[in-house]
């Protein structure tokens, strides 16, 4: 399988700060690739370098088979995290403009615009100005502005943030549909559940360095089966003082517990203390893994 993006030993510095440090990764063509990482870890800088918005200080970037990232510009679309649209423009003019910037011709643009408006459940907004749209509508229009150019590579920075569940589902379905057409999708997110469900591969960057890269299965294998999900009569209080308990992620009704040693022994001790309604040995969730990586280093920092 060919790669849509290849980074080799890429480094980017801003003054004394090294935002991205000797980063290497490969994004397979046609995949959905999740970028995760805490705020300020270098996600957006990496995405901007892929987009040729920033240039790396060291290393090599290959996008859609070209080492000249500028040359691939027309085939790459980008939806930034902080959305901005021309408030006074009509939706139709905006979408035409963005499509033409990517080199598309007017006649074929309009039919695509109509199709996307229907697909995103945005009827009757084409001749309205952006400022008259609701926030959800604006976000969907922004999404359409990123895909209207029929990109080969679509980079989405937090594409679902701020969307209600219905609109988020509409956008998720659209992303999956685009991938089925052969477009490679890279998206950064803080929503680990979405990343788990949608991404073929997940990449985590922390303090400018790669700390995770692989399929969810591979990553979870790497972190072992040391997590149990429990539901007890006394909630998280029931877990206090057990030597087997290494960490607890409390969701209120259930708790994810990282267990040191034998899980069966821990279950016997727990039954002795409280009524246990659920005890499920699971793999660590992506969120658990994220926290395991980020928290100790953040605390140390």
């Amino acid at each position: 399988m060919s790669n849509a993006i290849v980074l080799r030993e890429v480094t980017k510095r801003f003054g004394d700060l090294t935002a991205v440090n000797h980063l290497s990764l490969a994004v397979p063509s046609g995949s959905i690739y999740g970028f995760i990482g805490p705020n300020g870890s270098g996600k957006t800088t990496t995405l901007r370098m892929i987009m040729h918005i920033l240039l790396p200080d060291d290393g090599d970037i290959q996008v859609l088979g070209s080492h000249d990232t500028a040359a691939a510009r027309d085939q790459v679309s980008y939806l930034p995290e902080e959305r901005g649209l021309y408030k006074k423009m009509t939706v139709r003019r905006l979408l035409r403009y963005y499509a033409r910037l990517k080199g598309r011709r007017q006649p074929e643009i309009d039919s695509d615009i109509d199709a996307w408006m229907a697909r995103m459940q945005l009827p009757g907004v084409l001749d309205k100005t952006i400022e008259t749209l609701s926030k959800g509508m604006s976000q969907k229009v922004q999404f359409v502005s990123a895909v209207i150019s029929r990109p080969s590579l679509l980079i989405l920075d937090e594409p679902f943030s701020g969307l209600d569940p219905v609109n988020a589902q509409v956008v998720k379905d659209a992303v999956l549909e685009i991938r089925q057409r052969g477009t490679t999708v890279v998206f950064s997110t803080h929503d680990m559940a979405t990343a788990e469900k949608m991404c073929d591969r997940i990449f985590m960057i922390f303090k400018g360095r790669k700390v995770l890269d692989g399929t969810l299965h591979d990553i979870q294998e790497q972190y072992g089966a040391d997590t149990v999900r429990v539901r007890t009569a006394d909630g998280a209080q029931a877990l206090a003082g057990f030597p087997e308990v290494e960490a607890v992620n409390d969701f209120g009704q259930v708790q994810d517990v990282r267990v040191r040693g034998d899980a069966q022994a821990f279950l016997q001790h727990l039954i002795a203390r409280t009524a246990v309604y659920q005890f499920e040995i699971t793999r660590p969730s992506l969120e658990d893994i994220f926290v395991r990586i980020a928290r100790p280093q953040e605390e140390a920092a």
Partner: protein, 428 residues
């Protein structure tokens, strides 16, 4: 190039469809017309309240003429829209001068009188160097003292002529000045016929050049600052990130500059067409030559690109409008330089100051154009040098703005300092 054109066409339609453009288009002639009208109205609309003034005539010669002149003036004052000047002969009644002056000053303060005037006893003596003393609480009001000076001097001169046994009428006839008629040079036409120089038309000689320069100023200053707002808006709303993901920063900047230049050309074309229609109506159709229009377009484009580049650079370096306003102050001083100096250039277009200013790239689009429009115009070497210097400065400004724009457009948080901007220009 295609992307520059795409950006330019989108931005151009944004510009010409914007309310600001349409308002400028409509309001500018309205404002200029209203200003001219206001000046005319305000020139004629004087305060028509009566001006009662006391006079103390110690010479004994001025009193009858003051009374007669006031009566004559007041007879038509209302019809002329002027105030009446009502003289009050003050009875000194043996009062000491200081006491009398204080008393009259109090009457002025009490608004019983508007002013009072003293005509000394030796006013007729040409060697005495006596002066008329005018006292008032309204030092800025000049109509009354001017009228008094004229009226009293008329009486004084008549008395002096009489003392010298000379007829005032004869003196007036003999001292009547010869008028100077301001004419253009003679020339020989294509048939070999000598053509006499026509009388100089002040509007054609001075008004047309001034209008051209003012139009240039309005068009450039109306368009270029909008680039700053546009860049800051795109930067603050993160539109710039999307755009830079599609086009190179320099392409984006050039698209904006070309759109601004296009908007300025459209505005100029509309105004100049309107001016031509009016010129045709009033017999000034030859005042705007094709060569002049060519120079106008050339300097307009260079002016838009220079100032547009400066505004784009400031917009890219700042993260909000407040910071940009601070950075604009020194730029505005440069921009206003032609406004402060164009009067001097108009009066003496070949002076050293005028020549030096017309070589300064930020002033040349206005002041060299003004000099070209003023007959006979500057030597061609000066025009070419000015165009060359301005073109080089334009290229430099666009290049430097491109370097600043490339770095600044993605910067968030703190606005850049001038030092940082210079570093961006130097190292990219």
């Amino acid at each position: 190039m295609q992307k520059i054109f795409t950006v330019a066409s989108a931005e151009f339609f944004n510009v010409v469809k914007s309310k600001a453009f349409i308002l400028t288009l409509i309001l500018m002639p309205v404002i200029m017309g209203a200003s001219v009208l206001l000046m005319r109205v305000s020139r004629n609309a004087t305060d028509t309240n009566d001006r009662r003034f006391g006079y103390v005539d110690r010479s004994g010669v001025a009193s009858p003429i003051i009374e007669a002149a006031a009566a004559a003036r007041n007879a038509t004052a209302a019809a002329d829209g002027l105030p009446r000047f009502i003289p009050v002969d003050i009875d000194t009644a043996g009062k000491a001068e200081e006491v009398l002056r204080l008393e009259l000053s109090d009457r002025v303060r009490d608004t019983e009188l508007f002013a009072f005037v003293e005509i000394p006893s030796n006013i007729v003596d040409p060697d005495a160097r006596a002066e008329i003393r005018y006292y008032s609480d309204h030092p800025s009001y000049q109509a009354l003292p001017d009228w008094l000076m004229k009226t009293v001097n008329q009486a004084v001169l008549a008395e002096r002529f009489r003392a010298a046994s000379m007829s005032p009428a004869l003196v007036a006839r003999l001292t009547k000045p010869a008028a100077v008629s301001n004419l253009n040079l003679f020339e020989r036409d294509s048939f070999g016929t000598i053509r006499a120089g026509e009388k100089v038309d002040p509007f054609r000689a001075l008004g047309v050049p001034a209008v051209m320069m003012v139009l240039m100023f309005i068009v450039i200053m109306g368009g270029a600052p909008q680039l700053l707002n546009s860049v800051i808006e795109e930067k603050m709303s993160r539109i710039s990130e999307v755009l830079i993901g599609s086009v190179a920063p320099f392409q984006l900047m050039m698209g904006k500059l070309l759109a601004c230049a296009g908007g300025s050309l459209v505005l100029s074309a509309i105004y100049l067409t309107g001016a031509l229609v009016m010129a045709n109506k009033y017999g000034y159709v030859g005042a705007l030559t094709p060569a002049m229009a060519g120079w106008f377009v050339l300097f307009l484009l260079m002016g838009v690109l220079i100032f547009g580049s400066i505004f784009i650079a400031i917009g890219a370096a700042c993260t909000d409008l407040k910071d940009s306003q601070n950075m604009m102050t020194p730029v505005m001083l440069f921009m206003m330089l032609p406004v402060f100096t164009w009067g001097a250039v108009l009066r003496a277009p070949d002076s050293t100051l005028a020549i030096a200013l017309s070589f300064l790239p930020t002033a040349a689009p206005f002041l060299m154009l003004l000099r070209i429009a003023l007959h006979p115009g500057p030597p061609m070497w000066q025009v070419l040098l000015s165009v060359t210097l301005t073109a080089l400065a334009t290229a430099g400004a666009v290049w430097a703005a491109g370097r600043i724009f490339r770095t600044g457009i993605l910067m968030q948080g703190k606005s850049a300092s001038v030092r940082e901007m210079l570093r961006w220009v130097r190292v990219g």
